[in-house]
Symmetry: C2
Subunit: 233 residues, 2 copies
């Protein structure tokens, strides 16, 4: 166990601080895009709404911490998160110095049942256009995460698509289009949208069709990770 502290100045004034992760979990549903918030059940902040977030352990990677913290506060297990931005203004938390790394992810609301624990009194979904006043700079963190989410859906074709973890294994193209429309908050033309999808060879057409729908049954598609890795230029 080497000690590299000599790299800094000799004046080893305490420059230690708390590091936390805050998790922006977007929830996809037919009724729009939501964000998971918790109600604080301890300290003088009791009753206030906030992002699920807590301090990082000293021996824990940041992305691990985000996953753990999310599970501890909301019960959502094994949800991987992406780093969005780090917030570290000296006065962002009154009374002490806390640097927080903002993470984000998107899941299907139907896939989970949030159950608050630890110091969270409640854990529920809020519409992304109707977020209450949150603690500290959490509103800004959400704004930033939402930008990242949307940019990723628009541009990045190399990484695994956002909808991979949101849509069921087999899905219709209209379901996929609806996902884009909800996340990007705009409408798409059906024909043009499908043309766009033709550029994604990792979107595999199956021989399965909808049943029991009162209109022409749609063909189901699936995402193929292997084909994607081949085409991930």
């Amino acid at each position: 166990m080497k000690d590299y502290s000599a790299i800094g100045e000799k004046d080893d004034a305490p420059r230690l601080m708390e590091v936390s992760t805050d998790c922006v979990v977007f929830g996809y549903g037919i009724d729009g895009l939501k964000v998971m918030l918790i109600e604080i059940g301890a300290s003088e902040l009791k009753g206030k709404w906030a992002l699920p977030g807590d301090r990082v352990y000293v021996d824990e990677d940041l992305d691990q911490a985000a996953v753990r913290v999310l599970k501890e506060l909301t019960g959502l297990e094994n949800i991987p998160l992406q780093q969005a931005h780090t917030f570290g203004d000296a006065d962002r938390v009154p009374g002490k110095r806390v640097v927080t790394i903002g993470f984000y992810t998107i899941i299907n609301k139907m896939d989970v049942r949030p159950t608050p624990s630890k110091w969270a009194d409640a854990a529920s979904w809020f519409d992304v256009n109707n977020i209450p006043q949150l603690t500290f700079d959490h509103n800004a963190i959400i704004t930033y995460a939402l930008q990242k989410l949307r940019n990723r859906l628009r541009h990045s074709n190399r990484r695994t698509p956002l909808w991979e973890s949101v849509l069921p294994e087999h899905f219709t193209l209209s379901e996929l289009q609806h996902f884009y429309e909800v996340v990007l908050d705009r409408k798409f033309d059906k024909g043009n949208f499908r043309k766009k999808l033709n550029e994604m060879p990792y979107l595999i057409e199956t021989e399965i069709f909808q049943t029991d729908v009162s209109h022409r049954p749609a063909r189901l598609f699936k995402y193929d990770r292997k084909t994607h890795e081949k085409y991930a230029y």
Copy 2:
């Protein structure tokens, strides 16, 4: 001075850690894109090359810290930096926990004269395609920052353009094109590049022309911040 520590668990095991900023300063020059590195002059890392970086003060914003650290180690003063990504794997620095926020910026090599100080024995430019083995994960930080730099030059038209702080107040369109070519590492067609520039109304044509050049003198342009803010949709 309120104390919010009750938000966490009662088990107040020490979860404090060091937070640092690492600065990726890209240098634009006719000879290509460079990165500023320092040679470490203290500790058992003496002689190794690294990014200019150091711990953040407890009462200091992160972006302030980046500016200060850069000045302290390389003498480069008042260079604002953008956040790129935070690196915080538990084992990224052997022997202790250090979370570092990677910042980046680009300047004109001609505008500065790097002068190492504090624990930096040297501060010099390295070609971006020929970076030596650096300490810790600094090579990865550069890779990440370079991606951010390029993406910003390609996409973001809302923020002040990258070249605002790199080119002189008055510049020719060919100088601007050369900047793009160096940063993005590709050639552009002259005519098409200029058509692209027509979409930037904040690029103002002046009545000044080059002199003493052995070819047709080029018209000089300037960047107009006010016009840009109007068009920053």
